[in-house]
């Protein structure tokens, strides 16, 4: 291993070191404040190391492929982890006696995600996914009060196990057909493998994609999502919704591109069916949902449906593949930032468990700053101009138009139209007369306000002045 490789691995090393320090700290002095600071500093150091590594692009062994794209998403994931940290700081004050492990879990999960986005091999993919997942199960169940977190964790655990099994089985089939487990190798040999044993390749790929679809809560593998979103502490929901799904999606894009899965038309057809179903069912399920965290869960199903459209469109683009990658990156950034903003407000206002829409009655009068942030997030989800979501959707629709996928485009439009109903419903609820129970303004801890504000500004900035981000993504 040469020094360049060491440098590009520095984010992963930095995260691992943070995890180690946290373990040592727990054995010396148990104090969750110190743990919080260590985690924060560790994440910030990691961001720095990503910056220093950003000029290199390198394969590290057969397992990892460190490139600008992966590093960019690593940075984004670290950002998600930082926001989660900010939201987590005081939620376990009363609920658990030992809190330090939570931060350890969070760092480990982040490490898993960073490995996942740089995975170039099925082994590293599984490794990253499981590291991220197993830490998450524990994080979901971390509050010891109430049954909901435990129920959510068990559901997620069991169903995830199922999905992992699918993934492994799929890889086994692909290995059987191609004799290689790295994405690039599979891609190179799939062509000849396909000639010998087409069903093996198709079945393997389909099963792998189904397993990944579970993590992205694509229909029909979406059933767990609302239960887990609702049951988990809101900070963990934030983590799950942004970091875990974002990392998984990037891994999926890599697998499909590097593994050249896009060459199999019937496989893409299957993905199209999943995308259409996700866009429609996700939005329909959210339509009259009263629990706001469940609503976000269903909406995430729809959004990953939209993103799937971009993947399907990629092979149809010919020379403009770059546009496809840019669209995916932009949409993912917009979606993640918007989700962070929305869930931050939900954590601030709705508290950790209660996420009934009633808690948001008349929020515009009770806490205008939070209400405006949530409203901006909802408008961004809906894709209203001047918000990040609009630019993302604009990109996506341009892409789909270029690829001439009319069915998907139509579904995307219909889905977006349905979605406006429930996003605006949230805003209407906030502008309604305050409910009798919520006369007072919710107490939002002082330092949580700037977090929400920062995220809202980010959503607006990306939407109204997108050029810097477009340039940045264009260089990846």
């Amino acid at each position: 291993m040469n020094s360049d490789q060491l440098l590009v691995l520095s984010p992963i090393i930095s995260l691992s070191l943070t995890a180690l320090i946290l373990m040592i700290q727990a054995s010396i002095k148990r104090d969750h404040r110190i743990a919080w600071w260590i985690s924060t500093l560790g994440l910030l150091t990691t961001l720095l190391s990503i910056y220093s590594a950003s000029n290199f692009s390198q394969d590290v062994g057969p397992l990892l492929k460190v490139d600008a794209w992966g590093l960019w998403f690593s940075a984004l994931l670290i950002f998600c982890a930082l926001i989660t940290l900010a939201l987590s700081r005081d939620i376990f004050h009363t609920q658990a006696d030992t809190k330090e492990e939570y931060y350890l879990l969070l760092i480990l999960s982040t490490l898993g995600a960073v490995v996942l986005v740089q995975a170039a091999h099925t082994a590293s993919l599984l490794l990253g996914m499981e590291l991220m997942g197993i830490a998450l199960y524990a994080m979901i169940a971390f509050p010891k009060s109430g049954d909901l977190p435990l129920e959510a964790a068990v559901k997620y655990l069991v169903l995830s196990a199922c999905a992992s099994a699918m993934l492994l089985f799929g890889f086994a089939l692909l290995y059987g057909a191609t004799g290689d487990l790295s994405f690039a190798g599979m891609g190179a040999k799939a062509a000849s493998g396909y000639l010998n044993n087409p069903l093996l390749v198709l079945a393997g790929a389909a099963i792998v994609l189904a397993g990944m679809g579970f993590k992205l809560s694509l229909v029909p593998f979406h059933m767990w999502t609302p239960d887990v979103y609702q049951g988990a502490p809101t900070a963990v929901t934030t983590f799950l919704a942004t970091l875990s799904k974002g990392a998984m999606f990037v891994a999926m894009v890599r697998l499909i591109l590097d593994g050249q899965l896009y060459r199999y038309e019937s496989l893409m057809n299957a993905l199209s069916v999943v995308a259409v179903a996700s866009m429609l069912v996700g939005n329909w399920l959210a339509l009259r949902q009263q629990q706001i965290k469940r609503l976000i869960a269903y909406s995430s199903t729809a959004h990953f449906g939209y993103l799937l459209v971009a993947i399907i469109a990629l092979p149809h683009l010919g020379d403009t593949q770059q546009l496809g990658r840019a669209a995916i990156s932009f949409y993912l950034v917009a979606y993640i930032v918007t989700t962070l903003a929305a869930l931050t407000v939900i954590a601030n206002v709705g508290g950790e468990e209660d996420s009934d829409m009633q808690a948001f009655d008349g929020l515009f009068w009770r806490h205008p700053a939070q209400a405006i942030t949530l409203a901006v997030a909802m408008l961004s989800f809906a894709g209203i101009p001047l918000t990040a979501g609009f630019m993302g959707k604009f990109y996506l629709i341009t892409l789909t138009l270029n690829a001439q996928l009319w069915l998907l485009l139509g579904t995307l439009m219909i889905g977006s139209a349905i979605a406006i109903y429930y996003y605006l419903r949230v805003i209407f609820t906030m502008s309604a007369e305050p409910h009798q129970l919520n006369k007072g303004s919710p107490t939002v801890l002082g330092w949580r306000n700037p977090v929400a504000l920062l995220l809202m500004l980010a959503v607006l900035a990306i939407g109204s002045w997108p050029q810097p981000l477009i340039d940045l993504i264009g260089r990846l």
């Binding site: 069991v158 169903l159 198709l202 767990w224 239960d227 069912v281 329909w284 339509l287 009259r288 349905i418």
Partner: protein, 615 residues
């Protein structure tokens, strides 16, 4: 100095904004000071610009910034000052200031003192923008701005729903004209590629020749806007109802300034109208017809403000007549003198209404000559000017119009004759008003005297109504020269004597106990004619039947339209799908796993169906 002309509309605008924001923190005194002072300062600045203009009369253009730039359309926020603009500005700020001063006492007891001045100042600002605009788009901004202010001020006492109705009527009826005007603007833009007024006029004269159909269409569309704003037949019905606003508002907006915007528009675009003789004829005929109709209606009204309102419609008709026969300078001249004497009459009536517990009915007044001397003299001078008695301001301007109308080769004498008939009726109804209100027995006692804030504007306007006729307007560079040939002497003598005859007839009919007219009006025929005239020629009824009622019916019919059903069905379909899908979210893990497996099998099924085009 002239480079800072943008300061003039900015002053009242800033004051308006300030009054809106800080209304609750200002005392009445400071509100009045701000509201009246800003317009006063604007008037002083206008005076300074005018003085400078007298020594150096080259038109000035002041560009502030380019509003937006889309293709060839690049409207600028830019002002243009020539003689015509300057005359309008002097009228707006001068008369406007006097009316503001009058208002500061008239509205004294009103709760919404600050709101009143905020609207009034905003009106002045919008009106100034209208006349200063160097392109038609900016002019349109001012045009709509004054419309909004008019709406707000007519409905100023909004607690009475009748006032709200009057305000809506004023707004909607003028909007009909405005829509025509907007279409006209767009037509000009698409045909000639610019909205800058001077370029437009130049390009129009180069591209179009006299008698083409396009300039006629454009002129008629602009005319549509003009007749809506200036209350000409058939869009004049809003003006009498607009009297629901405070009286100074009627004086400022519905007599002196806003209603003359149509005259200004046509005068400003006269090069375009010169290309279309038929449009010019239309203007003249609409003017004279409106003038006669409104004068007839004014003759039988009993509400003092409605008399003045119909009189305003009638006088603007004269201005349209002037424009239609190409007597541009005479039309603008009459615009100015009319602003003086009609503002005077409205303010006089305001003083009466103020002192007589909001009494509007002239038959409940009487004998006010000795009790309100200042008001009496104002009214007398105002009425004399309105009737165009010799030596008053109205005489000079109306005489000029009639003489120039006579000189038209085609319909000249006919227009002149009709104009004379109008002048006769004008003299009769204006002195009917004077005789009934100020002579005879007192029927209501005034309960207070007017203070200096009301007396001063009345006095100044009295002076202007007399000497205004001697002003010479700097319009020589603006309008083409008209035929200066002098008509025969008998024409002039008749023109002078007809108003005197009118006053005499009014004296016979309405002075003292009026036995003759009383017995005469009892006959059924006269009763019926009177009823017909009083209702404004039944036009309100006609419009109600052909426009308002059908519109309501249509709206009612569309309320339950079938297309809505379609959308409702979509809503219901989506909700039903939502309900059914929600049922699948049972929370049971075995069901979740089952669905995953079913999903997996389905995915496999689609993926493994070997497609021919694979690889």
């Amino acid at each position: 100095m002239r480079d800072f002309v943008w300061f003039i509309p900015l002053l009242p605008l800033a004051s308006s904004v300030l009054l809106m924001i800080a209304s609750s923190r200002l005392t009445r005194r400071s509100v009045a000071l701000l509201g009246v002072g800003s317009v006063g300062l604007a008037a002083v600045l206008t005076g300074a610009v005018a003085l400078e203009f007298l020594s150096d009369s080259t038109p000035v253009e002041v560009t502030l910034w380019t509003w937006m730039k889309i293709d060839s359309l690049a409207p600028r926020i830019s002002f243009y000052i020539d003689g015509l603009t300057l005359v309008m500005m002097c009228v707006i700020t001068g008369v406007g200031f006097l009316i503001h001063l009058f208002s500061s006492e008239f509205m004294q007891d009103d709760d919404s003192y600050a709101r009143y001045f905020a609207y009034l100042n905003m009106f002045i600002a919008a009106m100034l923008i209208l006349v200063l605009a160097d392109n038609l788009l900016l002019l349109y901004l001012g045009w709509e701005g004054v419309g909004v202010c008019s709406y707000l001020l007519v409905g100023f006492w909004y607690r009475d729903s009748a006032n709200g109705r009057a305000a809506r009527k004023a707004f909607i009826v003028t909007r009909i004209g405005d829509t025509a005007m907007l279409i006209g603007l767009l037509l000009l833009l698409t045909e000639l590629g610019t909205l800058n007024i001077r370029t437009l006029m130049q390009v129009a004269s180069e591209q179009w020749s006299i008698g083409d159909s396009l300039p006629t269409i454009a002129c008629l569309l602009l005319l549509g806007g003009a007749i809506g704003k200036s209350a000409q037949f058939p869009l004049h019905t809003w003006l009498p109802d607009a009297m629901a606003g405070p009286t100074p508002v009627s004086a400022l907006i519905h007599a002196a300034t806003m209603v003359t915007a149509g005259v200004y528009l046509i005068a400003r675009t006269h090069d375009l109208f010169l290309l279309s003789p038929s449009a010019m004829h239309t203007v003249a005929f609409i003017g004279i017809a409106t003038s006669l109709m409104a004068a007839g209606t004014a003759l039988v009204q009993s509400d003092i403000k409605r008399i003045l309102a119909y009189s305003t419609i009638s006088q603007i008709g004269y201005m349209f007549l002037a424009l239609g026969v190409g007597a541009w300078t005479a039309g603008v001249f009459h615009l100015m003198t009319h602003a003086f004497f009609k503002a005077l009459l409205f303010l006089g009536s305001g003083a009466i209404i103020h002192c007589l517990h909001h009494e509007h009915n002239i038959f409940k007044m009487g004998g006010l000559r000795t009790r309100m001397p200042i008001t009496f003299w104002s009214f007398l001078i105002g009425s004399a000017a309105l009737a165009a008695l010799p030596m008053t301001a109205g005489f000079f301007s109306k005489d000029l119009i009639l003489l120039q109308a006579y000189q038209r080769p085609d319909f000249g004498p006919w227009l002149w004759g009709a104009g004379l008939l109008g002048a006769l009726i004008t003299a009769i109804y204006s002195f009917r008003l004077v005789f009934i209100v100020f002579f005879g027995d007192a029927k209501t006692e005034p309960d207070r005297e007017i203070g200096w804030q009301m007396a001063l504007p009345l006095t100044v306007l009295c002076a202007l109504s007399i000497i205004g006729g001697y002003f010479s307007l700097p319009l020589a560079d603006v309008f083409p020269l008209v035929n200066a040939e002098h008509p025969p002497h008998w024409v002039e003598i008749i023109s002078i004597s007809v108003p005197l005859l009118g006053v005499f007839l009014a004296y016979i009919g309405f002075y003292g106990q009026r036995p003759r007219i009383d017995s005469w009006t009892k006959t059924p025929l006269v009763q019926r004619v009177g009823q017909f005239l009083r209702s404004g020629w039944r036009l309100d009824e006609v419009f109600d039947r052909i426009a308002v009622k059908p519109y309501y019916n249509l709206a009612n019919a569309l309320q339950n339209e079938p297309i809505d059903r379609f959308y409702e069905a979509i809503v219901r379909l989506n909700q039903a799908i939502h309900r059914h899908l929600s049922a699948t979210q049972s929370g049971r893990m075995r069901w979740y796993i089952t669905s995953m497996m079913v999903g997996l099998i389905a995915t496999l099924g689609v993926a493994m169906k070997i497609a021919p085009g694979a690889i």
